[in-house]
């Protein structure tokens, strides 16, 4: 495989924790690692929920004007008002999870496991863990705690730096 010292590197700040926003960081991290890059993911704010032992990721129809679900042979947009109806967000989440399974897309659990196997470095933002009162016990094994300076140092040495 490619010489380790010449390997490119990528860092990402992961700030969101909904099901739809969980995919880009994990897909990019696992694929980059498969292509020989050294990858570091820094999880902060709502991104921290992606490190929880038991994942229960959801999507919302609120504030997602570009969301169109494939239903009845068409793409149906979701007006904000429907999210106020009880059960709609849960139904949208269930629909999304079904689509994911049906289309042979990996689950976030699977992608996260593959990222850890591929030695993707995961850092959990100490400050927001504290802010939301999460403890290391809530999180999976693997991620280390760090702060902004930890991330910045990694970023100065990375070829690719992404904010997701």
């Amino acid at each position: 495989m490619a010489d380790v010292s010449n390997a490119k590197s990528m860092s990402m700040i992961v700030t969101k924790g909904s099901l739809d926003w969980a995919y880009p960081p994990f897909i990019l991290a696992t694929t980059a690692a498969a292509m020989g890059l050294n990858v570091t993911m820094f999880f902060t704010f709502y991104g921290l929920t992606l490190l929880k032992k038991k994942l229960d990721l959801k999507i919302s129809t609120l504030g997602n004007p570009a969301m169109e679900m494939p239903m009845f042979g068409m793409h149906i947009g979701m007006p904000n008002i429907v999210s106020a109806l009880p059960g709609v967000d849960a139904a949208a989440t269930a629909m999304m999870k079904n689509l994911i399974k049906k289309k042979g897309v990996a689950s976030i659990e699977e992608l996260r496991g593959m990222a850890l196997e591929a030695d993707v470095k995961m850092i959990a933002c100490q400050m927001t863990m504290d802010l939301f009162e999460y403890t290391k016990d809530d999180m999976i094994e693997g991620p280390v705690l760090g702060g902004a300076a930890t991330y910045i140092e990694t970023a100065t040495k990375s070829d690719i730096n992404l904010f997701i």
Binding site: A2, I27, T30, T31, A34, M35, G36, V105, A106, M114
Partner: protein, 75 residues
């Protein structure tokens, strides 16, 4: 020696690449791995994967909606 085949038909990005990378670890250097996929994105993905990792994409073809990639492990 039987050619090693990886069947990722029905799986979507990034699984074809991730599974191929895992399978390649068990392929002796100089040997080949055939990957069967249905994800149309896999065509360009495998080209990029081979370019970046230095493995050789010997063949990339499509038959009856199944894409077939022949990859040689070079290092």
């Amino acid at each position: 020696m039987a050619e090693q085949v990886l069947d990722v038909k029905g799986l979507n990005c990034p699984l074809p690449i991730l599974r191929a990378k895992k399978a390649l670890k068990d392929v002796p250097t100089g040997s080949t791995l055939r990957v069967l996929a249905t994800d149309p994105g896999a065509v360009k993905d495998f080209e990029a994967f081979c370019r970046t990792t230095g493995n050789e994409l010997i063949e990339s073809k499509s038959e009856n909606n199944v894409f077939s990639f022949l990859i040689k492990r070079t290092a």
